[in-house]
C-alpha cells in the first residue's frame, strides 16, 4: 500500500515535468511489422548500443590518455599495464569500435536491399550515410592516437591516399596533418576531431536520423508489402526484444575483450622506415587493396586519381539512389539491386584479398 502510494507520487512528479503519459501514449501507438525480414530492424539499435559503449569507454580513456607525441604511447602503456581495468576499458573501446562499424555496414546494406531509402525516408537514408562517414572518421582519427608504429604509418599512408582526391585532396590532407608531415600537429588535430568535432556531428546527424525513424516508422520490404502481417508494439514488446539482442552482443564484445585483449605496437619513430606490409583497419582495407591493384596510369590519368574518383562516384550514387529509385520503375529497381550487389561483392572480395596478402 505504502509502496504503491510512493510509486504513484513519484510517477505523478515525473509525469508533470516530462509528460510521461503523453510519451507513453505515443509509444503505445508505434508498431513494428513482424515478418521474415524483421531481424534487420535490430541493426540500428545494435549500432547505438555499441556507440553508447564507445562514449562511456572513450570518456574513461581520456582520464589517462595524453595527446602529446612524446607521451601518447607511454600513456597507453600505463592504461594497459598499470591502471586497474585499463586494458579492459581500452579493449572494450577498440573492439567496440570495430563491432559498431560492422553493425553499421550490415545496417546500411540491409536498409539498401530492403529499399528502406525510398520516399518518404530519403532524409533517414542520407543522415544514415552521413553517420557512416562520421564513424569512419572516428575510426581513422582514433587509430593514430596510441602513436604506435603501425598507427603512425597507416595514418601517413591514409593521408597520402586522401591527398589524391582530385581538386580538394591535398588541401584536406594538409589541414588534417597540420603541415607536410604527420607530427604533433596531426596528433592534436586528430584528438580534437575524435573527441569534439565528430561527436558534435554525430549528435546532430543521429538526432535527425532518429526523429525521421520515429516519424516514418519501420519500412516494409516489397516482398511483404501487400501481405497482411502482424504488428507488434514498439513499446514495450520490440524494446524488450531489442534489449535481449543488446545483451547478447554485449556478451560477444566482452568475450572478444577477454580472449583477445587489444595490443599495442612499439612507439612510432617518424624517422624510421615504414615496416613492411602496413595495412589500414579492415573497414578501409577493401578500398586500400583496390587502389593497390590499380595500374600506375590509366590512360592519361594517375591510377590512384582514377580510383579516388571512382570511390567518389560510388558515394554519390548512394546519395542519389533514393531520388532515382523511388519504387515506381521495375528497371531502376533491378539496376539499384545490381549496383548494390556488385559493390557489396567487391567490398568483400577486396577486403578478404587485402587480409590474405
Amino acid at each position: 500500500m505504502m509502496a504503491q502510494m510512493l510509486k504513484n507520487k513519484v510517477y505523478g512528479w515525473l509525469d508533470q515535468r516530462f509528460a510521461l503519459g503523453t510519451m507513453q501514449e505515443l509509444a503505445g501507438k508505434k508498431t513494428v511489422p513482424v515478418h521474415r525480414h524483421s531481424i534487420w530492424y535490430y541493426m540500428g539499435g545494435i549500432a547505438v548500443m555499441f556507440l553508447i559503449i564507445q562514449v562511456l569507454t572513450g570518456g574513461l580513456l581520456m582520464l589517462y590518455y595524453v595527446p602529446e607525441i612524446s607521451a601518447a604511447h607511454a600513456s597507453i602503456v600505463t592504461i594497459n599495464s598499470q591502471v586497474d581495468f585499463g586494458w579492459f576499458v581500452r579493449s572494450m573501446h577498440s573492439w567496440g569500435a570495430n563491432l559498431m562499424i560492422l553493425a553499421l555496414f550490415v545496417h546500411l546494406f540491409t536498409t539498401y536491399f530492403l529499399k528502406a531509402y525510398r520516399p518518404p525516408r530519403e532524409i533517414t537514408w542520407l543522415t544514415g550515410l552521413g553517420l557512416l562517414v562520421v564513424v569512419f572518421g572516428f575510426g581513422f582519427t582514433g587509430y593514430l592516437l596510441p602513436w604506435d608504429e603501425v598507427a603512425f604509418f597507416a595514418t601517413k599512408v591514409g593521408l597520402d591516399i586522401a591527398s589524391q582526391v582530385p581538386f580538394v585532396g591535398e588541401t584536406i590532407a594538409t589541414i588534417l596533418r597540420g603541415g607536410a608531415d604527420v607530427s604533433q600537429a596531426t596528433l592534436s588535430r586528430f584528438f580534437v576531431i575524435h573527441v569534439f568535432l565528430l561527436p558534435l556531428a554525430l549528435v546532430a546527424l543521429m538526432g535527425v536520423h532518429m526523429l525521421m525513424v520515429q516519424l516514418h516508422g519501420m519500412s516494409r520490404p516489397d516482398s511483404v508489402k501487400d501481405q497482411a502481417v502482424r504488428e507488434e508494439k514498439f513499446f514495450p514488446t520490440f524494446v524488450l526484444k531489442d534489449l535481449m539482442v543488446w545483451l547478447l552482443l554485449f556478451n560477444l564484445l566482452a568475450a572478444f575483450v577477454s580472449f583477445y585483449p587489444w595490443g599495442l605496437g612499439p612507439e612510432a619513430d617518424p624517422f624510421a622506415a615504414a615496416p613492411a606490409g602496413i595495412k589500414p583497419e579492415w573497414y578501409f582495407l577493401g578500398m586500400f587493396q583496390f587502389l593497390k591493384v590499380l595500374p600506375a596510369y590509366i590512360g592519361p590519368f594517375e591510377g590512384e586519381h582514377v580510383g579516388m574518383a571512382l570511390f567518389a562516384l560510388i558515394g554519390l550514387a548512394f546519395v542519389v539512389i533514393p531520388f532515382w529509385e523511388r519504387g515506381q520503375n521495375p528497371v531502376r529497381k533491378m539496376w539499384a539491386e545490381l549496383f548494390g550487389s556488385v559493390i557489396l561483392f567487391l567490398f568483400i572480395v577486396f577486403t578478404v584479398w587485402g587480409m590474405l596478402l
Partner: protein
C-alpha cells in the same frame, strides 16, 4: 613418472581434457540441477493440478533423458579416458586416496540413471503422487553424486589437513568443500532453468507458456543473486597465491602472467550479470515474444559462462594438480630436491643408453612440459620461446628451477623445472632444435648423464 606419455600434437593434453570437460560440465549441470527443477516444478504442478505444466515437464524430461544419459554418460567416460591418459599420476593419487568415495559415487550415479529412466517411462502409468515421489528420488540421488564428487574436486584445490595426516576424510571435507558444494548447487539449478527456457519457449498454448516462463524466471533469478555470495565465500577460502594469480590480471592483460585467469573470471561475472537481465526482460517481462531462438542463444551464453567458470576454477590450481602436493606435471612437490640431486630421468623407463642429448631433452619435455604445452599448437613452445637461442633457453630453464619468486616470476604459475644441470642442458638443446634456433644441428652423440639409465627391453 613411468606411465606411458600421451603426446597429443597441436591441441595438447590440456586442450583435449579441457574440451571434453567443458562439454561434460554443461550436461552435468542439467543432470543435477534438472533433478531439483523437476521435483520442485512437479510439486507445483501437483499442487495446482495444471495439466499444461505436466505436459511441459513430460517434454522437458524427454530432452533431459536423452541429453544426460547419452551425451552426459559418453562425455563422462571421455573425461576418465582423457585424464587417465593425460595425467595418470594425479588420477592414481585420487583413486588411491578416495577409493571408498569413488565407489559411493558410482552407486549414486547408477541409482540416478535408473531413476531417470523410470521417471520418464512412467509418465501417465503411475499415479501423480507416485510420480512426484520419483522426481524427489531423482533429485536426491543426483545431488548425492555431487556431494561425493565435490569432495574430490575441492580436495584438488584445497587438500587441507590431508597433506599432513593423509586422512582421506579430512581431505574430503576440506576448506572449500561447503562453499563449492553450494556454489555448484546454485549454478546447476540455474542451468536447469536455462534448459527449461528452451523447452518452454516452444509451448504452443500462450497462457501455459507465459506461466511456465515466468515461473522459471522466478526459479532462476534468486539463484543469480545467491550465486555471487557463495562465489565470494568460495573465493575467501582459496589459497592466497591462487587469489593473487587472479588479481594480477586486473592491471595487465599480457601473455605469461596468467591474466587469462582474471580475464575469464571477469567475463564470467559480466555474462552472469547480462544473463540475469536477459531473463528479466525476456521470459519474464515479454514471455509471448520469447522465441525458441532467443532461448537457445540464452542457453549458449549460460553454458559458455559455466565452461569458462570451470576453466577458471581448474586454472586457479596451477601450478598444482593437487594443491601443495603434486604439480600439474605429476611431480610430487616433496620429491623435487631429491630429483634435482639424483636426476629426474634416473628411474625413467623411457630413456636408455645411447640416446642423444636431443632425445634426452625430448624425454624431459614429454615428462615435464607436455602436460600443459605443445610443440607448435596450444601454448606452443615455438611461440613462447620465440627467437631465444640455446644459451638463452638454458638461462631461462635455470631460472625455472629457482623457487624464489624474486628470481623466478613463474613461481606460482608453473611447476619448477626438475633435473640435474645435464638434464636441463639436454632440454635446452631439444628446445632450441625444436624452435630452429640451435647454433649447430644436433649431433648424434651419447649424452653424458651422471647415472646409468634403465635400459628399456
Amino acid at each position: 613418472m613411468n606411465y606411458p606419455i600421451w603426446d597429443v600434437p597441436y591441441l595438447g593434453v590440456t586442450g583435449i581434457i579441457g574440451l571434453i570437460s567443458c562439454f561434460h560440465i554443461c550436461i552435468v549441470n542439467f543432470a543435477v540441477g534438472g533433478g531439483m527443477y523437476f521435483a520442485v516444478t512437479e510439486q507445483w504442478a501437483y499442487k495446482t493440478n495444471d495439466e499444461g505444466v505436466y505436459d511441459f515437464l513430460k517434454r522437458l524430461s524427454k530432452f533431459f533423458l536423452l541429453l544426460t544419459t547419452v551425451a552426459g554418460a559418453v562425455s563422462g567416460i571421455g573425461i576418465w579416458w582423457a585424464v587417465s591418459l593425460g595425467n595418470p599420476n594425479s588420477i592414481h593419487t585420487l583413486i588411491q586416496t578416495f577409493t571408498l568415495g569413488w565407489a559411493e559415487e558410482w552407486v549414486f550415479f547408477i541409482a540416478e540413471l535408473a531413476t531417470a529412466f523410470v521417471y520418464y517411462y512412467t509418465w501417465g502409468k503411475i499415479s501423480k503422487e507416485q510420480h512426484l515421489k520419483l522426481a524427489w528420488f531423482y533429485a536426491v540421488f543426483s545431488v548425492l553424486t555431487l556431494v561425493i564428487i565435490n569432495g574430490i574436486l575441492s580436495f584438488m584445490m584445497t587438500p587441507g589437513a590431508w597433506l599432513t595426516t593423509k586422512n582421506w576424510l579430512l581431505g574430503f571435507f576440506n576448506e572449500t568443500y561447503w562453499p563449492l558444494l553450494f556454489m555448484r548447487l546454485v549454478v546447476f539449478a540455474a542451468a536447469a532453468g536455462m534448459y527449461a527456457f528452451v523447452v518452454a519457449a516452444r509451448i504452443q498454448d500462450e497462457a501455459t507458456k507465459t506461466k511456465v516462463l515466468q515461473y522459471t524466471t522466478k526459479w532462476f533469478i534468486p539463484l543469480f543473486i545467491i550465486g555471487p555470495l557463495v562465489g565470494f565465500w568460495y573465493f575467501k577460502n582459496l589459497p592466497p597465491d591462487a587469489v593473487t594469480n587472479v588479481m594480477t590480471g586486473i592491471q595487465a592483460s599480457g601473455v605469461g602472467n596468467f591474466s587469462i585467469l582474471a580475464r575469464t573470471f571477469y567475463l564470467s561475472l559480466i555474462m552472469t550479470g547480462t544473463i540475469l537481465v536477459f531473463a528479466f526482460v525476456g521470459p519474464y517481462l515479454n514471455p509471448k515474444g520469447f522465441s525458441f531462438h532467443a532461448a537457445v542463444l540464452f542457453l549458449l551464453c549460460g553454458l559458455f559462462v559455466t565452461s569458462i567458470g570451470e576453466f577458471t576454477r581448474e586454472m586457479l590450481r596451477k601450478p598444482y594438480v593437487i594443491y601443495g602436493y603434486m604439480y600439474s606435471n605429476g611431480i610430487v612437490k616433496d620429491k623435487v630436491p631429491e630429483l634435482n640431486k639424483v636426476g629426474y630421468l634416473k628411474s625413467s623407463k623411457w630413456v636408455h643408453d645411447g640416446m642423444t642429448p636431443v632425445e634426452i631433452g625430448e624425454s624431459m619435455f614429454k615428462s615435464q612440459c607436455l602436460m600443459c604445452h605443445t610443440r607448435h599448437g596450444y601454448r606452443s613452445m615455438e611461440r613462447l620461446l620465440g627467437e631465444r637461442d640455446e644459451q638463452s633457453i638454458t638461462a631461462f630453464l635455470q631460472m625455472l628451477q629457482m623457487t624464489d619468486k624474486e628470481k623466478n616470476p613463474y613461481v606460482g604459475i608453473m611447476p619448477p623445472l626438475v633435473g640435474t644441470p645435464d638434464e636441463v642442458a639436454a632440454l635446452a638443446t631439444y628446445l632450441s632444435a625444436l624452435t630452429g634456433t640451435a647454433a649447430n644441428p644436433p649431433v648424434k652423440q651419447t649424452a653424458a648423464l651422471p647415472y646409468k639409465p634403465v635400459l628399456v627391453k
